[in-house]
Amino acid sequence: MFDLDAWREIFQSINKNKLRAMLSGFTVAFAILLFTLLFGIVNGLQNFFTQAFVDDADNSMFVRTWKTTKPYKGLQSGRRIQLKNEHLDYILEEHSEKVQHISARKYLNVRITYKTKQDNYSIRAVHPDHRYLEKTIIDEGRFINQLDLNQKNKVIVIGRLVKKDLFGERLALGKYVNLNDISYKIVGVFSDEGGDREERNVYMPITTAQMLYGNNDYIDNILIGYNPRLTIDRAVAFGNRLERELRQKLNIHPDDQSALFIRNMAEANKNVGQLTTALFFIVILVGSGTLIAGIIGISNIMIFSIKERTKEFGIRKALGAKPGSIISMVVKESLLITSIAGYLGLVLGTFILSQIGDGLEEYFIYNPSVSSGIVIGATFTLIIAGLLAGYLPAKKAAQIKPIVALRAD
């Protein structure tokens, strides 16, 4: 029930004992502020790590080969390992249900000439799925398609910066350029969030590249997007299994990381997940520490202030105050101070976090913020602590015989 007179008594008591109110208010506000900042910063760390992996699709696997470092089945070490179409086909045949996207990648370095302008660029010869695996954004035209693959079309998709180099602001789509004296048609322009380096690439059909440059079925890397329905653990297992199978097919020692290696985002995700979990526990630990410190702070102040007021309570009782009215006065006072101070701490904390924004990115903290649920929960914890911290000693004080309370000083 809202009793204006009771609140007037409380406001007066707070107003006339500002130091006491400020002390307990400060303790609460500070605890909530620390709590908010702490949670916010850990959130920022998480945001940073999540963001750091968004360039490539987060379900991607990358098969790369180099030279063997271990002799195997009578074969010398130092042997150069070459992936071929058959390996990609094998993955598709054996593991089709685990694969969402797949693409080969073959690298070429060519000189591209348009009218008077020319420069060296790196070419990636790929399958159509590559755009999903690299998260390529098509700005104009289209990406490499199946028809290009079938017909071994001489078409390319150029990066935004390649277009800028060769064409400036003019139209590039549909124009023909020379790659080492072979004429290709530009069918698309792309951009990529991975940065400038990515946007200096040029894509062409893998079949075209294999026919025109070496006339073989060689590929440099295989990119796989595993089925997103796989759990992280199963995706990790899939990557390991594929690694084993490919090593076997290529007569590589099962442990030869250098000869053939699969970089699996599932593992990175798993690590990020573990890091996040670890951070979460740290936060729980430090956060509850902060809260407990705050709770102890309020309790101490309340106990002290109630002791200080024992005589006042004795006077009030001699004048007819019932124990309940004394308890309710103290508890309401404690409640009022903790909730106002808690709210201030909360507002200040969220304000500071919002000011930080992305200003701490170099410390791996990005866009720190807190979910309102957590902070409101923390504030309520402190308010309840404030209630108890007021209630327990007040109850004790209210039960003291007035004659004893009056003698206190």
């Binding site: 007179d5 007037r8 008594e9 007066q12 008591s13 006339k16 004992n17 005589k311 006042e312 004795g314 006077i315 009030r316 009782k317 001699a318 004048l319 007819g320 105050a321 019932k322 124990p323 309940g324 009215s325 209210a398 039960q399 015989k401 007035p402 004659i403 009056l406």
Partner: protein
């Protein structure tokens, strides 16, 4: 108004106990002006605190306004105190952060009187003790005598049956002592029962009846000159 029969009170001191009141019998009728005399430590305050329901007795009977006082919890005691009793203490016991008028109004707050009426009544009583102009002052801006008059106004404001005063002049000089005693006399003249503790003979002389306490026993209980005069009036 106040009837005490065979009242005993001891305080525990460590394992022992200190027997302070050793079987008191006392009857104070409504409208009396009684003082208790005795040297320091004779048990005067203990008696007054029991009468004032601030403390409990061990053995014996105590009737306040005809009601037997036993097994009172704090809540019931608070109601009875608020209704029947007004306290004046040697050390004033004003609440330091409240103004004079707020201090006087406080018992009315616990009686459940609305704020406006509370402050109006409180001001009337402050005027009665000639402190109207000091209504908005804090206790530490008042002299000892003024503080005690505020305390008396506070004791009176609920129109209690009995005013209990524990050495109300103990902290005052002789002129202010006289003014406080005049006030109490005036209150008694209006029909209120007044029960004063003192160890000053001159103060006791101004009451109607002096009860002398020594080592927890009543050694004498006599009317003063004024008491005798009043008694004659009524006969």
């Amino acid at each position: 108004m106040i009837r005490i029969e065979g009242l005993h009170k001891s305080y525990p001191i460590g394992k022992d106990s200190l027997h302070v009141l050793k079987g008191l019998d006392l009857h104070i009728k409504e409208g009396e002006f009684v003082s208790i005399m005795g040297s320091s430590g004779s048990g005067k305050s203990t008696l007054l605190n029991i009468v004032g329901l601030l403390d409990e007795h061990d053995v014996g009977n105590y009737y306040l306004n005809g009601q037997l006082i036993e097994k009172l919890n704090e809540k019931k005691a608070a109601v009875l105190r608020n209704k029947f009793l007004g306290f004046v203490f040697q050390s004033f016991n004003l609440i330091s952060y409240k103004t004079a008028v707020e201090n006087v109004a406080l018992p009315l707050y616990y009686k459940g009187v609305g704020r406006k009426e509370r402050l109006k009544t409180a001001l009337e009583y402050l005027e009665k003790v000639e402190l109207g102009p000091w209504a908005e002052h804090l206790p530490n801006e008042l002299s000892g005598g003024q503080k005690q008059r505020v305390a008396i106004a506070r004791a009176l404001v609920t129109v209690p049956k009995v005013i209990l005063a524990d050495e109300p002049t103990g902290a005052l000089d002789s002129t202010t002592t006289d003014s406080v005693m005049d006030l109490l006399k005036g209150i008694n003249d209006e029909g209120m029962t007044v029960f004063v503790i003192t160890h000053e003979e001159e103060v006791a002389e101004q009451t109607d009846r002096i009860v002398r306490l020594k080592d927890g026993v009543i050694i004498s209980d006599e009317l003063t000159e004024s008491g005798k005069a009043k008694a004659k009036q009524y006969v």
